[in-house]
Structure formats: structure tokens, C-alpha cells
Point group: C2
Chain length 441, copies 2
């Protein structure tokens, strides 16, 4: 929902507000609410059904992240990803959004919830994805942030537009390193299991394969969706229980088609809605709680990707975690794969840093040469003026401009190198820990 | 320790390495190690006595933060502060350092330590401190980061160059909001108490009042130290125990004068060394552990401040926390004070954003006017050339330069406004929580 750019923005914000009021969820995580005015409008409209809310501010435009809740929000924290595209890629604009992960802490029926909402860097070209290293750094920082901040939580929930297909390395890394489970995969698995109640309940409703970016949606770019006739799934609700709780996804739905009574859908992404069943272990079923989350993403991002490839991830599932050694080794493979991609990004960033640095030096040399020539002329060494004044001045201005620009880009890419290098280091430390664990056990 | 700029850098790095080897601390937290080469040299030198280490990479130059340890480092996390000065203040240079807080997690004798190392924005002019709002945002983010990441820790340690005097609002905020205790204040308090063993042990050694920036040090700026003849204390070791542990500062020392056998001190700041006594509650004294931390800051930062004003802070002391209502109200006062300063910074940032935005619009208008004039001349509307070509071109280049620069600064100050606004919001939420607590209890 970008002001002035997004089509029928206010109408759709109104429709989303109506839907939220009508459904009465416990918790709503929204992304791409770029305008604080839209947030204020939603807040005013939802005051009665969602009395608690928070908007996360960051970047130039804002993080776009906000949370509406039926239950009090005890505390919040924002972590801005250290890498998020390039400021000069104006046509993509991710850099200006200050992509972040927001944490809200809530206590519902005595259970402490750490709820994370995030939106990762978009994918503009899947075949030659220049932003993959940045998105992997973000996925890694997200996983690390969740691991380090959720140690006192009973239940962890993550909802957001991750801009990654279910089988992508980033999401395998995120799930493996945090132990988070994918609500869609869990709902489908539950439905598929032969031990399901008879008749089998329809646990997953809405778009086929849980896709959230579908060609039928009139706000998506049809040409980008050509390789994916069924659509792609890039919006997720992930969860896990710590300590003595279990979480089960009872139902997962997505919105489909236009909003009721109108010709347009709510957003370019379909919303994901999950009903989670949370139970204290060793307690009767009476002590349970149903929590529903909806996460909807406004328009502006356009992801393209491969056909949905099934639920091939095993890391973090309780059945695998009971036998730590093979799971650790499989996770080590994922970390290695991610680290390789970060390494590719690191070398690209180093090349950029080098070439902009060289450009800055050349511009400086040219300027110095011009200054020397000008001084020489002033001192009367060259009796006649060797260059036309106008071109001389133009050249000086152009070299000055190039010098400033190239220095700025050199500085920017130096920071990029630092962060990619730092992430590579952290991943290496993680690998060492994973590989050492079996020998210790 | 800035390459090429800092005096006798390599010699002092060697001296610091010698000192660390000789003292054999358990844990060493260093700041302002800007050169990764210096870190590598130290790492090689200290490999036998401190086999574990980590360097935190961020910003253009680096975070300058590193940790050396006798015990294995299990995990690390870096949080870069969202505000850290201005890129155009080249003479101050803080922006380029990517000031951050680094977390390392260690397990020593079964006790989980969360160790934080940080370096906040420098203070260049105490009377008119333009960076106070940024430093307060950093102190707040530091406190929030510690609170949210330390929930599974038994002991929390924070060491670093906080660039704040002991009675400053930022350090009161940090201590109040996290419950961290100041090793120097605790050591002095212990020494002063009438229940101390006879004869009273000298718990605090080194510079008077624990000062870490003293006029005697040949690397400090004498003129900046004039109002503080005794020096100032801006480097800290803070700690607290969670769960069933107690921590006591047994001894606190600072370095003084030149390094042994030389004429120069180790650094422009004096190092702080603490011996901490950590005991599991309800266990005999045999289950204790001594941990010593040294934190030394290289040169480059120059702080000036008021005369050391005693240990006037009560927040977070266990005796106060047992009666939550008055402590909460006192803490609410501190948060209000900090929020007021952040508000002052917010309004200044809004003014900057507005004036740079206006400047950009004016430059754009001038450019458009020139383009219209040029087109008019080309179309033969004005028969004779009204302006000299050279000045016309110069003016166009200058307006283009101003347009780009002003747009960049407008974007930068927009981000500043967002972050200051976000911090104000978070502080308001904290205040509400503090004020609601008594009525609930």
C-alpha cells in the first residue's frame, strides 16, 4: 500500500479493516502498510475488536509492519536487517523501506507469546537473483534474532512475507536454525496422515498448495507469473512451542478471489489465516487456547519463483530433533549451502567496492590534473589559454560529481562487504558448533 | 587505534597484548580495535592464553569491538544501533564506525554468561551536545537488546565505552531499565559499608573515582579535560545475576600512567579491570567462580564531561527492587527525562528534514527554470543569448549538485525522524507499563 502509487489503496485498506472486524481474529500481522495514515485509519476502525496495536517505524518509508491484537502487548523490539538492497536501485526501492523484524511480546491465558512479523527483500529475477545474498543475510539475522530473544517464551509465532519459496535455501535455513514449523506443511501433513479422524477434515482451504501470490489476482504481474500457473507460496505462518507446550495447526486458509461485494481482491498477496491449538503438556485438553493469525501483505512487491515443490524439509520437526546427530548434519548442509551463496555475494560486493574505489581515484587524479593546468595558466606558464573555458569547467564538475558518487558507493559497498563477511563468520561458527555436537554427545 | 591516524598504534597494541598475556584474565572486552589486522595480530599473540575470540564487523571501518576469552564462545549476535551521528560530520566520524553492541554467550562451570560489549556515540561538546538524542536512542536500544536477549542467562556482563558520565540520564536509563549494577559503585559501596571486614580491603585501585579518561594520559586532549582536573569515568563494567545466582564485585582496578618499561600509556582511556565473585544461591562458597574482565579502549574518541558526581543512582539495586512501586516511579522519571531529550532531537531532525527538503525543491525549480530558458533560446524565442554560456553551465551544475545533496540529506533526516519517533513511542509504552504496574500489584 504505497501512497499515490498503489491502485485503489484506500478502498482496499477499508476492505481489509472490514474483513478483520468481521472475522475477529486474536492476532493480525500486516506487512507493507507503508503509510502511517493507513495504520491510523485501521487503528481507529479496529479499536473495538483489536484494542491493542503497534506500528514499527524504520527506514525512509517505514518498515510497513504492524500488529493488531485482542490481547495486551507487553513489550516490543525492532531489529533492522543490516543489508537490504542498494539505495541506487530506485526502481526496486527495498533499501528505502528499512526492512526489519518486529517483535511483540504478549501473555495470553498465562502463556508467553513471542510474535515476530517481518518482510524480507523481494525477488525480482529468480534466474539471476542479485539480492539472494542480502535475503540470506536477512534470513540468518531473523533466525539469530528469534533464537536469542525467544528463550523466555512459551510459544513463538512468525508471520510475514518472506519472499522465499518453500524449498529455497533461506527458508530451510530459517526453519532449521530456529526449529520453527510451517503451519501450512503441518496442516497438510495432518490431513494426509492415515491416523486422521474419519471423515478427513479439510485442514487447508483457499488457494491450491497454499499459494499466496496467484495469477488470478488482478494486482499481480501476469508476465512474472507465467512460469508458475498455480502461483507461489511466499507468505508464511511459522510456529514452535518451547518449554512444556505443544502447538498444532488446526486449520490453514488463504483468501481467494475478490473481496465480498467488490470486484477487487484485498491485496496483491492472498492473506494466510491459521487456527493454532496450544496445549500445556501433561494437562487435560480443557487448558487449550485457539489463536488465529492473519497476515496480509499490501501490494508493491512482486515475487516470481519456481513451481511449488512439496514440503521437503525435515529440519526442526520434533520427530527429527529426537535424533540430533543426523538432523544436525543435515542442518550443517543447509548452513554450508547458505554460506556459499553469502560468499558469492561477498565476492561481488568486493568487486563493486574495488571498481568504485578505482573510479574515485581516477576522478581525483583528473581533478588534480585540471587544478595543475588551471594554476599553470594562471601563473602565466602557458601564454595562450589551451582549453575552451566552458569544456574545462564542465569536465571539472563532472569529475567532481563522479568523485563524490564513486566515494559514496565505495563506502556503501565497504559496509556491504563487512556485513557479508560478518555473516559468513557467524555461519562458520554455527557450522563448527553443529559438527562438534555429535562428538560431544 | 585508527590506522595511519593513531599515534604509536602498533607499539601500543603490542603492549596491550603483553599486558593481557601477563595478567591472564578470564575475559577481555576491547573497543576501538578499528583495524582487523590489529585484531589478527592480537589473536595470534594471545592464542595460548585466550584461545577463544570474536571480532564484530559492521559499518565502514568496523565496530571496533572484539572479545578474547579463556572459555569457549558458544554463540554471538550483533545489533547495530539505528542512529549513530551523521555521515557528513567527517571530523567526528562516528557514523562510519557502525556503532553496535556485540553479544557473546559462554558457559563457564555450568553458568550461562551473556556478555555484551559496546561503544556508544562520543560526546564532543558537553554544553551543547548535538548527539545526546542519538546516544540516548543507543542507550535505550542497548537496554532493550539486553533485556530481550538475556532471559536465558544466569549472569549478564556489560563492558564498554559508554561515553556517558555516571550521573547522565543515559546511564541511569540503561541501569534502571535493565537492572544492571555498576561494578565501580558496588565495589566502593562494599568498601564503605561498616560491615566490611577489618581492616577494610582496598577494593578499588587505580585512578581516583575510577576515572578512565584522565588529563595525565598523554593521548588525551588537555584542553578538553580542563573542566575535569580529576578526569571522568565513561568506561564501565556492569553486571547482574538472573535466576538463582549472586554476583559481587570483589575488586575494581584501572590502569594508571605509562605501560611498564615505556613512556606511553596503553591507550587514551584507562582500562577497567574487575574481579567478580559469582555464587549459586543456597550453595556453599565452594561453588564460586572468579571472573575478571578488562576493557580497554583505543584512542580516537575524546570525551569531555562534568566532574564525577558520586554514585547517586538507586535504580536496579536489589534493595530497591524488592519494593517495586517507588523504584518503578523513579524509573518512570528517568524514562520521561530521556524521552524529553529524544523529543528535542526529534524536533531538530524534523527541522533539518524540512529545510533540506525545501532546499531540494528550490534547486529543482532553478534547474527547471534554466531548462526552460535554454529551450527558449534554442527555439529562437530570445534572439540574442541572454546569459554568458559559462555562468549558465556553472549555475546548472551547482543546482544539480545541491539537488542531489539536499535530496540525500532529506532522505537521511527522514530516517532519523522515523527512528527518534519510534524510540519515543517505545519509551511511552514503557512508561505506561511502569505506571500501570503499581495499580495491578
Amino acid at each position: 500500500a504505497i501512497r499515490y502509487l498503489s491502485k485503489r489503496r484506500q478502498e482496499r485498506i477499508r476492505l481489509i479493516g472490514d474483513k478483520l472486524c468481521q472475522e475477529g481474529f486474536d492476532l493480525v500481522l500486516l506487512q507493507e502498510v507503508w503509510s502511517e495514515q493507513d495504520y491510523s485509519d485501521l487503528k481507529a476502525k479496529l479499536a473495538s475488536c483489536y484494542p491493542f496495536s503497534h506500528y514499527f517505524r524504520s527506514g525512509v518509508i517505514g518498515s510497513g509492519l504492524c500488529v493488531f491484537s485482542r490481547f495486551p502487548i507487553l513489550d516490543t523490539l525492532l531489529y533492522q536487517y543490516s543489508l537490504n538492497g542498494y539505495p541506487y536501485m530506485l526502481q526496486h526501492g527495498d533499501w528505502f523501506c528499512g526492512k526489519s523484524v518486529g517483535l511483540v511480546i504478549m501473555k495470553i491465558s498465562g502463556i508467553i507469546f513471542n510474535v515476530y512479523v517481518t518482510h524480507l527483500h523481494a525477488e525480482y529475477c529468480r534466474d539471476k537473483d542479485a539480492y539472494l545474498p542480502h535475503r540470506l543475510v536477512q534470513a540468518w539475522e531473523l533466525a539469530q534474532f528469534i533464537r536469542h530473544t525467544s528463550k523466555a517464551a512459551d510459544v513463538v509465532l512468525l508471520g510475514g512475507d518472506l519472499n522465499m519459496h518453500p524449498e529455497d535455501v533461506g527458508i530451510r535455513l530459517l526453519r532449521g536454525w530456529t526449529g520453527l514449523r510451517d503451519a501450512f506443511a503441518e496442516a497438510t501433513r495432518f490431513e494426509d496422515t492415515p491416523r486422521a479422524p474419519h471423515p478427513p477434515r479439510l485442514l487447508s482451504q483457499g488457494c491450491k498448495n497454499g499459494c499466496t501470490l496467484v495469477p488470478d489476482n488482478c494486482f499481480t504481474d501476469k508476465s512474472e507469473m507465467l512460469p508458475f500457473p498455480l502461483g507461489i507460496r511466499i507468505d508464511y505462518i511459522l510456529y514452535k512451542a518451547i518449554s512444556s507446550f505443544t502447538v498444532k495447526c488446526e486449520e490453514l486458509k488463504t483468501t481467494t478471489g475478490p473481496a465480498p461485494g467488490t470486484a477487487i481482491p484485498f491485496s496483491d498477496h492472498e492473506a494466510v489465516m491459521a487456527t493454532l491449538h496450544i496445549q500445556r503438556q501433561g494437562q487435560p485438553a480443557g487448558a487449550t487456547l485457539g489463536t488465529a493469525g492473519l497476515q496480509s501483505s499490501g501490494d508493491g512487491e512482486k515475487g516470481i519463483g519456481v513451481v511449488w515443490g512439496g514440503i521437503g524439509m525435515v529440519y526442526g520437526r520434533p520427530s527429527m530433533l529426537r535424533t540430533p546427530v543426523p538432523a544436525d548434519l543435515a542442518l550443517a548442509d543447509v548452513v554450508t549451502e547458505a554460506r556459499t551463496e553469502v560468499g558469492v555475494g561477498l565476492r561481488a560486493a568486493q568487486r563493486q567496492r574495488y571498481s568504485w574505489g578505482r573510479m574515485a581515484v581516477l576522478a581525483l587524479l583528473l581533478l588534480l590534473l585540471q587544478a595543475a593546468a588551471a594554476l599553470g595558466t594562471l601563473a602565466g606558464l602557458g601564454a595562450e589559454q589551451p582549453f575552451p573555458k566552458l569544456s574545462f569547467c564542465l569536465l571539472a564538475f563532472i569529475s567532481l560529481g563522479v568523485l563524490i558518487l564513486a566515494t559514496g558507493l565505495h563506502v556503501f559497498h565497504t559496509m556491504e562487504v563487512k556485513m557479508l563477511h560478518g555473516t559468513e563468520d557467524q555461519m562458520w561458527m554455527a557450522l563448527r558448533a553443529l559438527q562438534e555436537r555429535p562428538s560431544e554427545g
